[in-house]
Amino acid sequence: MIRSMVMENKFLLIRDLHVKVGDKEILRGLNLDINRGEVHVIMGPNGAGKSTLANVLMGNPKYEITKGEIVYEGKVLNDMKVDERAKLGIFMSFQYPEEIPGITVENFLRSAKMAIEDKPIKVMEFKKVLKEKMKLLEMKEEYAQRYLNEGFSGGEKKKSEILQLLILNPKLAILDETDSGLDVDAVKIVAKGVKEHKSEENSIIIITHHNNLLEYLNPDYVHFLVDGRIVKSGDISLIDIVEKEGFESFKN
């Protein structure tokens, strides 16, 4: 089985992926390969399936795979539970993070870190790491004691997502529109956080409408997602095409 050997060497392989939400087919035969340490950008018009791709990689039960495969480090993810994926190193930064009242950012993140690493983490040790990362993201220390995302502004929520990214240190990070709705300064801070996370071990998928974040991040590949498929892939120069022409010429 040559195919499976190739697949096992790859970090993430998406093959002929078809995904439905309710009765509507959103992804229609999507293919994508990602190697370790690469940064990929997915761009495309509204409704093309960008957020669907993020959600289906993370395993949101609302999204149903009707055909195709997602293979991550040689394992087929299709039916794997969300928390199991997280434990394998997959992370999604949410476009609209949920507010969870009653649990502090610090307690939540320590619980999550312990769940993922499957070992206890000392309170003081964790506090130190958290403080460091919050400083990097220019978050006020008191945010550690606030309830998770409750009453956070749009920008604070996105910073909170990147804080989680830095603490949980996943191998595959999917950033779903992390730069949308942010002012220039906040984009810089988020970019700083993502850069901090970027390494030879960590792969990143950036889903975006804009090139705000990209100026800071030097992606390896850019893909256009239109009508549920990747219609064009290339390097960063593809962004210029979008700037000039939009996605019209790629639509059926």
Binding site: P61, K62, M80, D83, P97, P101, I103, F108, A115, Y147
Partner: protein, 471 residues
Amino acid sequence: MDVDISRKTYVEDIDRGIYDIRNEFKYSYKVEKGLTEKIVREISEKKNEPEWMTEFRLKSLEIYNKLDVPVWGPNIDELDIENIVTYVKPRTDMKYSWEDVPEDIKETFTRLGIPEAEHKSLAGVGAQYDSEVVYHNLKGYLAMKGVIYTDMETAVREYEDIIRKHFMTVVPPSDHKFAALHGAVWSGGSFVYIPEGVHVDIPLQSYFRLNAPGAGQFEHTLIIVEKGAFLHFIEGCSAPKYSVNNLHAGCVELIVKEGARLRYSTIENWSKNMYNLNTKRAVVEKDGTIEWVSGSFGSKVSMLYPMSILKGERARAEFTGITFAGNGQHLDTGAKVVHTAPYTTSSINTKSISKDGGVAVYRGALVITENAHHSKSTVSCESLMLDNKSRSDTIPVMDIRNDEVDIGHEAKIGRISDEAIFYLMSRGISEEEAKAMIVRGFVEPIAKELPLEYAVEMNNLIKLELEGTIG
């Protein structure tokens, strides 16, 4: 991956651990089932009561016989007073040392952590087993300051004037049928008197345990906090489960004098065969404060609406409540506040959780009289339903007879959203833990008001209740 349906086990009867350990039913004396004049006289006689109390009981019985059961609220048709034993005297008199309490009874309270809590963090403890208080003790330094903390029977004998003056004046027997029942067959409970200006720095706690099957518990609590004094009183209740119905119709009367403050914390964790028809009421004088913290977890049916009457200017009431209704439970709880004086303030903050077909209802009333100008009140009730079989209702009644008032009301009923579960699971947290986390987060603002050991107990309970519900 196949979903294994059999994993969706349903926990019919939750293991309530220590609460469900029942002792062999032993007693030194009990009356016949049902309610008759003979039984009422018998109880009074056994207690060797003054004649006025016997008369009071008989008068209450008369009222009981005239009143109908409430036509609103949960169905209590299955509760048949003819099948309830109203008085069960345990095989001991009241003791002032745990050493003297019979072994099996002492064991029960030890399992519930009472002697340990007394040793560590309480200023005094009363422990009632079935119909009578078996243990009562108060730290010496408080007794020196004139603090009185004793069982009601002793109080009737030793502080007869005070009791006669106040007993069932805050909650008269004519209030409703179960208040009348209480007046007729009350037994046990605590009397607390805090003299003017005395600040009791650590809490007093009374614990009520009903061990006898098919019995009723009717303890009476009367607390008087004099001018400028302070007390935190904690009340805990539990019972093991039997197949027959039990009844709890206690009565709590709180008198908060000028500038005094009373904090009254209760956790009722009755077994699911219990009808909990309890009446609690506070009268607050000028500049006084009543703070209620109330947790209702157990029982088959609860009807519990602690009332605060703000009688003096600038009197304040705060009510914080949490209700958790599981399978087979109908918990109808809430709070009432009556503002009868100017510049009085109240805030009501409740949360309820229902699951497995449980019904949690918030029923509250806010009354502001013509006289209570410049009063302020905020009411906030939130409900969380954990599945589609469960029910939650909010029935707030407001009767405002003054224009110069400031009223805020907010009610929210919700479910755990799939999106929130997905979000938490995406951070490596299991589905079960994600749900528990959301529920714990929901009750957190209330949990932090509870005495520590009860907050821990509530967390354990949430964990127990959520186990086995996820496929």
